[in-house]
């Protein structure tokens, strides 16, 4: 386990160094993504101004929601950007190279690529959560909860990403399918959390766990709700093991494309 973690950190370090070689592109990607994310704050803050507070959700909560959402997105899709390329790897036969690697297959695939714009998401996410903590005058318990929930929502995000991209093994060109499924999961996760109630809340917590990434963590911090903390922790770990199982089932289904290529 530690050996794999060390390898993941080493691969990420090398990926960052490789990406930072093109300095201008690296920096503009980071800055561009941070500006891009600001759009969602503008939209939802004006929404709250026009519509008013819905189910106790204020503008500060929206900032917190975007903080959790973009930070987990940024961590997963910068350091583990290879997951998003799984459909391409399966389609073009490059997956064979990974299977021959003595390292853990999932770690090797996840760390095969680095996305600089994800760093912009991380910076934006940290800025949002810091602002959120200041706006709600967070106590030390709430700050600790925020730190803990960042880890939980990142595990949930990683698990769902692995589960969704494992679908790549079932189709010849899975890219449209995986992007459709990912959108179905991610779009509600950055929606105004106060609007999910009744059936929609149940669906987007237990079936498509979008609320576990952003809305529920915000409610846990705001209300210091230990029941909800337990719920998101359990859901995250359940999804983590389910995603690993789905990935290994997918790998077993994989048939080599037998491309006669070398290296790459």
């Amino acid at each position: 386990m530690m050996k794999e973690l060390r390898f993941a950190l080493y691969a990420t370090k090398k990926n960052i160094q490789g990406s930072a070689e093109l300095r201008t592109s690296f920096l503009t990607n980071i800055a561009g993504m941070a500006i891009n994310n600001t759009a969602f704050i503008i939209i939802w803050v004006f929404f709250v101004k026009s519509v008013g507070v819905v189910n106790g959700w204020t503008s500060a909560d929206i900032i917190g929601l975007l903080g959790f959402g973009t930070l987990s997105f940024g961590v997963v899709f910068s350091a583990a950007a290879g997951i998003r390329k799984l459909a391409d790897y399966v389609a073009n036969g490059r997956f064979d190279h990974f299977m021959l690697s003595p390292k853990n297959l999932l770690v090797r695939i996840a760390t095969s690529s680095f996305n600089a714009s994800g760093v912009g998401d991380i910076i934006f996410g940290i800025a949002c959560l810091t602002t959120y903590a200041l706006l709600i005058h967070a106590s030390i318990y709430q700050v600790l909860l925020i730190v803990l929930l960042i880890a939980i929502s990142t595990i949930m995000f990683l698990s769902i990403a692995v589960a969704i991209y494992s679908v790549s093994f079932l189709f010849t060109d899975a890219n449209p399918v995986t992007s459709g499924l990912f959108e179905l999961f991610f779009t509600p996760s950055i929606f105004h959390g106060g609007a999910f109630h009744g059936v929609t809340r149940v669906i987007f917590t237990f079936i498509v766990p979008s609320l576990v990434v952003g809305a529920l963590p915000v409610e846990i911090v705001r209300n210091i709700s230990l029941e909800k903390l337990l719920l998101v922790s359990v859901l995250s770990f359940v999804w983590f093991f389910v995603s690993l199982k789905l990935f290994s089932m997918g790998v077993k289904k994989y048939e080599s494309s037998n491309f006669m290529t070398f290296g790459g």
């Binding site: 519509v51 959108e183 609007a195």
Partner: protein
């Protein structure tokens, strides 16, 4: 004549291609349900909490306005930026430049062809489903609605293509235009009335949406509001103005980009 034949050929080929893979249509439907469907549920609840009216706007009007935005987005005209950037980065641009066709019109027709089939199918069935669930606003039954909707759609499509092609052509100078694309795309998303319908905009934001090219490219979302019957000549005028400006900008940029390309052979 040659240009019309090229357009016809591209459209026919791509529409047939899309029809051959119904799975892709399913994914587009998935995508619009994920974004627009969830958003409509959200607004339905919010309007109910506010006794059915926010800023003198009813849920029916807001729902149709957002539906028009998302149906238009299925056309994926914005993808022209990435297509041009990929042509430049991969070097494919020199192959396309050497062909006896206009590169820009080829790319634009290609983009239209790619999105035409899902746009028609999803808009048609989406409109029927939405009409049967929430009903039709009174403004949609006025005599100016259909002709102005067609006009605003056509100019919106041309303006979107020109706007995003301008971003794409910058790849000749800055290679990776993704950050610029994100900013333009989000400006269109905010000012077009995607997640927040234009009727709920604060006054200053509404003015930016009205007079900027980003908002003008999505005037289709304005067609369902009561004021459309009076304001449509001004809004279509603004749209024509920006279309004209961006067609000129894109032509100048393209002429400069052509001079910048050096074919090294291989």
């Amino acid at each position: 004549m040659k240009a019309i034949r090229l357009a016809h050929k591209i459209l026919r080929t791509l529409v047939r291609d899309r029809m051959y893979y119904p799975g892709r249509l399913l994914i587009d439907t998935f995508s619009i349900v994920a974004r627009c469907g969830v958003l409509l549920v959200l607004y339905w609840y919010v309007f109910r909490l506010n006794n059915g009216i926010i800023n003198n706007t009813t849920f029916i009007v807001a729902a149709w306005s957002m539906f028009f935005y998302f149906a238009f987005s299925v056309f994926r005209l914005r993808d022209i930026s990435r297509a041009i950037m990929q042509d430049v980065q991969s070097g494919n641009i020199e192959v396309l430049f050497s062909k006896p066709i206009s590169y820009l019109s080829y790319r634009m027709w290609w983009q239209v062809g790619e999105g035409l089939y899902p746009f028609l199918v999803i808009s048609f069935f989406g409109a029927i489903i939405l009409a049967s669930i929430v009903g039709i606003p009174a403004t949609m039954s006025t005599y100016v609605f259909i002709p102005t909707l067609v006009l605003v759609f056509l100019f919106g499509a041309i303006l979107s293509l020109a706007l995003y092609a301008t971003v794409g052509l910058l790849a000749f100078w800055i290679e990776d235009v993704s950050p610029l694309f994100w900013i333009v795309d989000k400006a269109v998303m905010i000012l077009g009335g995607s997640y927040l319908p234009v009727a709920l905009f604060p006054n200053f934001m509404y003015k930016i949406a009205l007079y900027s090219p980003f908002g003008a490219s999505q005037f289709i979302t304005h067609t369902v509001y009561g004021a459309w019957a009076i304001e449509w000549p001004v809004k279509i005028g603004i749209q024509i103005f920006w279309t004209f400006v961006f067609v000129i900008v894109v032509s100048i940029l393209f002429a400069k980009a052509r001079k910048k390309v050096s074919v090294n052979g291989g």
